[in-house]
Symmetry: C2
Subunit: 131 residues, 2 copies
DNA sequence: TAACTGTTATACTATAAATATAACAAATAA
DNA sequence: TTATTTGTTATATTTATAGTATAACAGTTA
């Protein structure tokens, strides 16, 4: 799995890392139980600091995406990601709300908006391996 | 139009201001050509600093939501908000992408996700005044 | 023993957010 | 004319976050 960073972006590096790993799980490029690089080696590969990687890992751990064993290192959660709960839906709504507010202002139709979402969903539905 | 701020939120105050004004335009609580409070009076009403309001206004101005005349003060863009262009769609996609990545991880179906979006759209479709 | 793991601690730089004053230029109202 | 209000600009300060730089500790593994 490839990780690419945009050091010019306003989006913090650790956030970019988080969402690329989440996207990797969504696309099944990362499987449950699969190991991730150590904080030191990943930091070295990406040319960034150990703590920046650690911050991304800690948040992914707290949100249930990965587990961190003293022994086994960092692994994608073998039991899968926690299912959507009430708190998740509430937070998701508050993230989408301002996007739709602006869309409505710009006369974007509900149909076109939903179509964009569908199109993005499709990117994650590519079947298993691509060999 | 009421503006409410959450000073405990991690979301910057000027961002909260921006999106509540955008939401006001979307809900037609704010009409094209309608005046907005001066930076000083709004800051005083909300108990925040002049520059925080100014920052929100400047960004809204740059994005075409409002106009600022020396004479007339601050008004909602009489010509309406600029239509969605290629840059807008591109930026929107990059904002939705990580949300859908996480949704896929949590086994949220495309149908449920689109349903949430539809539900939010409905909030902006309330007809005109509510007298 | 040596190397590697996650973890913790400290210190530093840089940037963003927010506030606090102050002042300027233009328009308006007394 | 004076006084007030407008948006605007300029400085300075505080606070918090992001990122880096070292260093060390406690386990695990080769």
């Amino acid at each position: 799995m490839y990780l690419t960073l945009d050091l010019e972006s306003e989006e913090p590096i650790y956030t970019q890392l988080k969402y690329q790993i989440i996207a990797g799980i969504a696309k099944k490029e990362l499987s449950p139980g699969e190991g991730l690089p150590s904080v030191r080696s990943l930091a070295a590969d990406l040319g960034i600091n150990l703590h920046t990687v650690n911050k991304a890992y800690q948040q992914l751990k707290q949100e249930g995406f990965i587990l961190i064993h003293r022994q086994k290192g960092v692994v994608v959660n073998p039991d899968g990601v926690p299912q959507a709960n009430e708190a998740y839906w509430s937070e998701l709504e508050s993230k989408i709300h301002p996007l739709i507010a602006e869309a409505v202002c710009r006369n974007v139709s509900e149909k076109d908006f939903l179509q964009l979402c569908s199109q993005i969903f499709t990117k994650f539905n590519i079947k298993d391996d691509e060999s």
